[in-house]
Subunit: 225 residues, 2 copies
């Protein structure tokens, strides 16, 4: 029998790749998409497409009202920073950082895991995000795993909970290469912070990192068509 | 200038006491009440009364949709277990346990803290809950504190985040004595898992523990009038 895993799925490039990796490792995937006050429904629609096409056994939606706390361009009315494709992406903690976002996301994933008897959580944090977000570092993933094993009935009584971050050491181009080798159709995904009519803007940090990575891989971005 | 603290406030006896303790230690209190699919609004009303009367500087509501995950009598249609006041409270992990609840609550408290520049979180976990809930133990609080300091911009760049659990070592009667010494009016609070018309049922584990503790203190429970 397959082991169950909860995979955090945003609808973007990274989490779609993570879902494919979890499947390739033999897990029965329970995808979890968390609405945390995003300004657009387009990425939720992308998450639905990805879960269906990549063979998730179930797809659960949850919500956490980070919107009310403010402090981020992803949930407030602060303008998303834009630049041209050849400008460097900013350093430091970006304005698009959501306070404690990955802590909240993994907490809900842990609740879902506990309710379905899963011991494995997957999250698509990676080396690119690592540069600016404190909650995308290996130290964060390790600390959450340690917490999960004292916080829950399954962690305490049954079996060790593991938090998998299979993209951690990969560049964006390597993530794409890995996903392509597993048959991921990146045309299903949406990574943009500020899409217009369901289409990526092409100018935000997420679009620029993605376009640059597809250029490095040597193919057009199927999500920018 | 007062230091800011985020206090998780449910509207029950424990968290009201914690709010009073944080105030007595000189903190400017930002109360946070999380709706996680509770079956009744009565405890939210109790939280509002407590925040106002005990002098919180602000009172924020948040939500997390644990309801959809099931697995708990507090959010599902499972019957809340009842007993008479002289029966022992059950051992093991109670049916009223919400998967990963305190992890989710502290995650939202951390997000709120980061957005307002607070470094101190207060939660009312205590020795009575400790017996049955994995996420009420000192090891859980320590693991969350460690996580908070790698997960956030303030933890990494500014100052250590502390998670305070001032009730951890206190019996329910000692919690009540402490709160009374700080002027807490327990008539404002509601601890019942299954209130009827805004009044406590008197038979659930929470009511029985509370009634027994007030008897030990030697006064009637002002919340049961």
């Amino acid at each position: 029998m397959s082991k169950r895993a909860v995979v955090l799925l945003s609808g973007g490039l990274d989490s779609a790749t993570v879902l494919a990796i979890a499947r390739s490792e033999g897990y029965e995937v329970y995808a979890l998409t968390v609405e945390y006050g995003q300004r657009h429904d387009d990425e939720l629609a992308a998450a639905r497409r990805v879960a269906k096409r990549l063979g998730a056994a179930a797809h659960q939606f949850a919500s956490a009202s980070l919107r009310t706390f403010g402090g981020s361009a992803l949930t407030d009315d602060i303008d998303v920073p834009k630049g041209s494709a050849d400008e460097p992406v900013g350093s430091g903690i970006p304005v698009t950082y959501v306070p404690a976002r990955n802590t909240v996301l993994l907490s809900l994933a842990l609740a879902y895991a506990e309710s379905i008897g899963a011991h494995d959580l997957f999250i698509g944090v990676n080396a690119v995000d690592y540069s600016g977000y404190p909650d995308c570092r290996p130290a964060f993933v390790e600390a959450f795993e340690r917490l999960a094993n004292v916080a829950t009935k399954i962690g305490v009584e049954v079996e060790a909970i593991r938090v998998h971050a299979p993209l951690m050491e990969l560049s964006k181009a390597d993530i794409i290469r890995r996903g392509l080798s597993l048959g991921v159709d990146y045309g299903l995904t949406l990574s943009c912070y500020d899409p217009v009519g369901g289409r990526p803007c092409g100018g935000c940090d997420a679009c620029r990192i993605r376009l640059s990575a597809f250029a490095e891989v040597g193919m057009p971005d199927p999500g920018q068509r």
